[in-house]
Symmetry: C2
Amino acid sequence: MEHVDLLISAAWVLPIEPHGEVLERHSVAVAQGRIRAVLPTTQALQRFVPERLVERPGHVLLPGLVNAHTSAAMSLLRGAAESSSLAGWLGQTERLQHRWIDAEYVRDGTELALADMLTSGTTCCGDVHLYPEIVAHSVAQARMRACIGLPVHHTPNAWAGSVDESLDKGLRLRDEYRADPLITTALAPRGPLSDAALARLQRIADELELPVVISLLEAGSAHYELRRLEQLGMLTPLLVAAQLPALTSADLELASLAGISIAHCPQSSLKLRVGTCSVSELLANGVNVALGTGMPAANNDLDLFDELRTAALLSGLSPPPAPELSPHDWLKIATLNGARALGLDAEIGSLLVGKWADLCCVDLQRVHSQPVYDPAAQLLYAMCRDQVSDVWVAGRSLLLDGRPTQFDSGELMQRAQRWRERIAAAQR
Amino acid sequence: MEHVDLLISAAWVLPIEPHGEVLERHSVAVAQGRIRAVLPTTQALQRFVPERLVERPGHVLLPGLVNAHTSAAMSLLRGAAESSSLAGWLGQTERLQHRWIDAEYVRDGTELALADMLTSGTTCCGDVHLYPEIVAHSVAQARMRACIGLPVHHTPNAWAGSVDESLDKGLRLRDEYRADPLITTALAPRGPLSDAALARLQRIADELELPVVISLLEAGSAHYELRRLEQLGMLTPLLVAAQLPALTSADLELASLAGISIAHCPQSSLKLRVGTCSVSELLANGVNVALGTGMPAANNDLDLFDELRTAALLSGLSPPPAPELSPHDWLKIATLNGARALGLDAEIGSLLVGKWADLCCVDLQRVHSQPVYDPAAQLLYAMCRDQVSDVWVAGRSLLLDGRPTQFDSGELMQRAQRWRERIAAAQR
């Protein structure tokens, strides 16, 4: 008999790797934060003596979801600028951000967003926002996993006065967290940077093997055309292009050859009317498609299961011969593909032995999820976020039977309400 | 002081009529099943002595949602035929329906579906399925409201051997429930009926003032072209065309002139890849657009708030100059427009004094719904079905603080699981 820290048994385990597998009455054994074994529950109970046994008899256990692109702190502005056009929405949101942003705003918004993510099954996110040191601190306190984007803006802002200062501050942050297994960093150019600035940033990224995250929504696709990025040496397997609109066939070829990742953010892209991309076409061309919520101010939440349903339904509009994607294909997009986009696929995103035990558990014992012929299909098409019963990051329980272990929802909501009162009063 | 049966106070009341109104700290007073008053809570407490007081300090109170088109009993097959094409899915689903349908199947599937609807805020549905007398009985037992489609098939089936028999049985059912305020009926031609049969059916509908429900998904739009329906006198304000694909401009003119209703079912239409329609264009042309889930076997659930989010996001793809719809416009589609489609807009669908007290209450005190600048936007973009705390139909509490009052979820799920075991075993 072998000692392990944690043994979780579930009605179904979806390991993501091997692809499409549904393991009935299986368990995941966890030791020192990592997956020790995935095996039938009857065998698990004979082989392991767990410090803690968690039995989930009507549930699905799968890797925690990876939100490949968000700006967590913007959750304080969700619903504040329900304007119709992208220009109107961006203008109003930018004015509000500019007026209110400071370290406290970023902390309160980020903590609210992390709670939103954890309670809906997301265990890792790629975040881009000013004051990344505050974001990193909040993530570390929440015991969640994140790839923190180090923002490099073309104009001075509340956080940094120049490209140089952004890079200095960002790289100091990277050094500070280098030993932390939960926090990694990426470079995040924002706005129309010069060729020289982008080339310098890419040299740093290459040297330190950091992902580079660009949002084509905010900057406008004209500035970050793939052709230009290629000339600057930025089309690499560590490039994450978020909210990419429809690609030309030349762009598709560039993306495919370079093996970049795309963070598909369907809800915010649809809401802001910037169009969308064909996931199945991108995948068929070898592009790694991950899933993100984008900015919570435009989403308006950070529920990645709901985002996944939107993505899957939306793909029903892709013209033939776009290949059909199965529920398992979609779940891989929201887990392993997200991990790959953030450079973390060797560590998380599937239930391979040795990976970190980043897990989520979903209760299918609900009238709207029954009967269950196919647990993957019910996760995709017939569940809601409140069915997420448990979440673990590196084997640590962050949500247990529906209750958060590391944060106080009431206090987070009170802080959010105080921000709303201040912001709404100033708008009048 | 005036006696009332029920007084519900909420942080926000969305009455739907007048359009766009958000009433802060208001209450709804209910007497004999109908809305007696909608007024500020401070005034309500001075004016009324309620038999029962329900206080919901962080919640939104609004009319119960109206699912304008579904086939409730098919919930037993959700996820059973996750095939990719409409033809493949319909073929497999029809084979399963044909093999298993009987009175018990219809009862168990319908009861599961009604529980699914009630727990997600839907208080009224338009249903079309074989064995409508079983459906009506289940609805009556659940104390929910429904417009029961009386199916008229072109081929003999388990329920009726001919068009004549369908009509006889259906009209007997209509007579049986004529005195029941919760149950109304509609005629539902299914499959390629002859001109003579359709004309006869329409004469009956005209005489009895019954809605006529056609699903353009199942029959194929070719058979039920609007031009043909016009020639048969079927384009009336009581026609509900469900799952209409994109309309030609000639069709749009016909629909607009006749004032028909369209039951938009975006999730099942997208999932079955049959295309969709432009809601804002239809509304701008004076067509009444309601919302439905379609068949739960293809949806896979009956969550109309989620369906509404899909509809709203999807409209972001409508090409300009499609007018923008506000969150309030969308909520009206899921309530008052649904009531109008089913011929019930004088009785339900908004909180006008004198209408039935069909209500739902949604708790916004969640980390992902806060802060609240705009409760309508948060209902549309940042809630999940488990936030529906309470539901009333004609003033009777069917869901109270998250707990169903009229059904046992555990027993419904057990019955669903038994059906799955039987059906899955026979498929092997």
